[in-house]
Amino acid sequence: MNLETYIRNRLKQKPIGTMTHVIAGYPSFDDNLTALRLMKKYNVDLVEIQMPFSEPTADGPVFVKANQEALKNGITVDHYFDFMKQASQEFDFPILMMGYYNTALKLGHKNFIQRLKNAGGAGFILPDLPLEEQNGLFDTAASNELSPILLVAPTTPDERLNAIGKAANGFVYVVARSGVTGDHTAFNKQFETYIQRCRNAIKLPLAVGFGVSQKKDIEYLTGKADIAIIGTALLRAWEYGKAEALEEFLDGLLGNG
């Protein structure tokens, strides 16, 4: 089933979906698995597994440190795909590769797509690869039924939103604000105008990330966006008190209580 259909089906059962995030190998693959099992328990819809990179320009301090520590732990591309394979066998939610373009470039486009497919990935998010620089990667992905997930930002003009919407597959990642990952976002009138511009220009489901960290953020996004993306807040919870703190946080965010 393609990614967009999967998301549309999930949205028949709930008003808004969630996508969560782990950084491969940080603090360890075992910890990653524990985190993923909790995410499963709270019925998340999609998961990003980030391939660590030595120059994570788009990430804020929490993720920067995690990227660095994972590399210090010796995480390689081989370890990364092995772990993704293990995760995609255990879990039924779609898994997306998140990372930086150099990983795909060094592997070669065909090899990157093949390895992602073999590992059971559903697509990829590369925040430093704009539409103009993709150089055939999206076609290679399409012929292997993988989804390139593209990002849009509040500064993206309407006609470009349109072009990105057409090139993307599965859903579009709506960056809620300026800056890097991990800071708070003030959801306000300006955001409403922006998400409406996205809606008008893009037919795919819209996933909103950057600064989504509380239940009230998800409540606010319900009816405006299709998916809420929670990243840094989860890692913060883990760092605060490992699995127990993460479960408590997920429960507060997504639990029924």
């Binding site: 030595s54 120059e55 993206t156 960056v175």
Partner: protein, 421 residues
């Protein structure tokens, strides 16, 4: 040769290198910058204003000095030196920052940010910001802050805020990452004054353009003052801005050989160097917004670099230089830390010049090649900066005991607070 006559669909590319690998949030800011650069390039008044500013504020045109003693000593080719060390703040960095300052004014922005390694670009940016009245924040790796305190001192005195960067290897590349993070947050008010001809399009084009006055002056000076073109031109290559600045004056003169000299550190097989174009560890990648040769492993993770000169201690190289290596227009070589110190000592003793450790790489290679060349051959070397800033590093490298005693004495004075009495 017009490097900037981009083919449709290949804007910002030099052969297969360059591009704009940027987060979407910066797309419109980059568009704005591209338009401002295009308009500035099309406006002769802008270039005239730039030249006038550099003449009244930064000693331009810088002279070319003939090194008679050193040439006689080496017994081969004649050596000439383009004196970028005579710029305000002591290096070619002044050219780029003043140009970008004028552009920042045109963009209507009020705040500038910059990365710095050795601190030269940071100090240059801080002087520019003071003169233009911009708020100024300089990102600098914690390790560089520790080893380049004099430059940090001057930046702060000039009114800049220096932010130590604790990520990664805590050096230049990490300072660039942090400056990018600032920029994606503050782009409406802020211009990022990138220090070299690297990074996302249009920075390589813009920095190369501002630095091109080095080569334009040098070509004219060689012809009018020394009667003919140089046979070979040497410049050190970190990011590549001083090299591109000088080389652009001679790109179309096929008889002129262009030689870029990278930081060989402790040797090309030592794992401690910064040679992207002359060593095996360099390969094509994308990081920090552009595609070029990087020092990286097979997974595409960047390697640690080393050079005795902080200004050459960087993982990437200008995409324009990667292209000109591929076309064969530029020959690339490396000089080791030891060769550089020996060259520096020789140049100081024979000519009374104190080149920066960066520039001493270009001297080292020229000195190596000169003896075997006929006497009528002319070698032109870019002295991209002055070496005063390197006093701590050079004193350590030559193990000067008197200097060590001086520093120890100074430390004791501080401990007993005598220094302020």
């Amino acid at each position: 040769m017009n490097l900037f006559n981009f083919q449709p669909g290949h804007e910002g590319y030099y052969g297969e290198y360059g591009g704009a690998y940027i987060p979407e949030i910066l797309w419109s800011t980059i568009e704005e910058l591209k338009t401002a650069l295009k308009n500035a390039k099309a406006d002769p008044d802008f270039w005239q204003e730039y030249i006038s500013l550099m003449q009244s504020y930064s000693c331009r045109p810088t002279p070319i000095s003939y090194l008679e003693n050193l040439s006689r000593e080496l017994g081969g080719a004649q050596l000439y030196v383009k004196r970028e060390d005579l710029n305000h703040t002591g290096s070619h960095k002044a050219n780029n920052v003043m140009g970008q300052g004028l552009l920042t004014k045109r963009l209507g922005k009020t705040r500038v940010i910059a990365e710095t390694g050795a601190g030269q670009h940071g100090v240059a940016t801080a002087t520019m910001a003071a003169r233009f009245g911009f708020e100024c924040v300089i990102y600098m790796g914690t390790e560089d802050v520790a080893r380049q305190r004099p430059n940090v001192f001057w930046m702060e005195q000039l009114g800049a805020t220096v932010v130590p960067v604790t990520d990664g290897s805590q050096t230049l590349k990490d300072a660039i990452n942090e400056a990018m993070r600032d920029w994606v947050t503050n782009y409406p008010t802020t211009h990022y004054v990138l220090g070299t001809a690297c990074g996302t399009h249009p920075f390589p084009e813009m920095v190369a353009w501002f630095q091109s006055l080095i080569g334009t002056e040098a070509r004219e000076q060689m012809l009018s003052q020394y009667g003919s073109m140089p046979d070979k031109v040497f410049a050190c290559v970190g990011g590549g801005s001083n090299a591109l600045g000088l080389f652009q004056g001679f790109l179309d003169d096929e008889s002129v050989e262009l030689v870029g000299v990278e930081a060989g550190g402790k040797g090309l097989d030592s794992g401690a160097h910064a040679t992207r174009l002359t060593s095996r560890e360099g390969s094509v990648g994308v990081a920090q917004g552009y595609k070029t040769y990087f020092l990286q492993n097979n997974d595409g993770q960047m390697l640690h670099t080393h050079s005795i000169s902080a200004g050459l201690d960087y993982i990437g190289v200008s995409p324009i230089l990667s292209h000109l290596k591929q076309t064969g227009r530029i020959r690339f070589e490396a000089a080791t830390d030891n060769e550089v110190i020996e060259a520096l000592k020789l140049v100081m003793k024979k000519e009374g010049l104190i080149p920066a450790l960066e520039s001493a790489h270009a001297f080292a290679r020229a000195i190596q090649e000169a003896p075997a060349l006929p006497k009528h051959t002319k070698l032109l070397i870019n002295q991209s900066g002055r070496g005063d800033k390197d006093i701590f590093t050079v004193a350590d490298a030559i193990r000067d005991e008197n200097w060590e005693h001086f520093i120890q004495g100074k430390a004791k004075d501080y401990e007993s607070r005598n220094i302020y009495s």
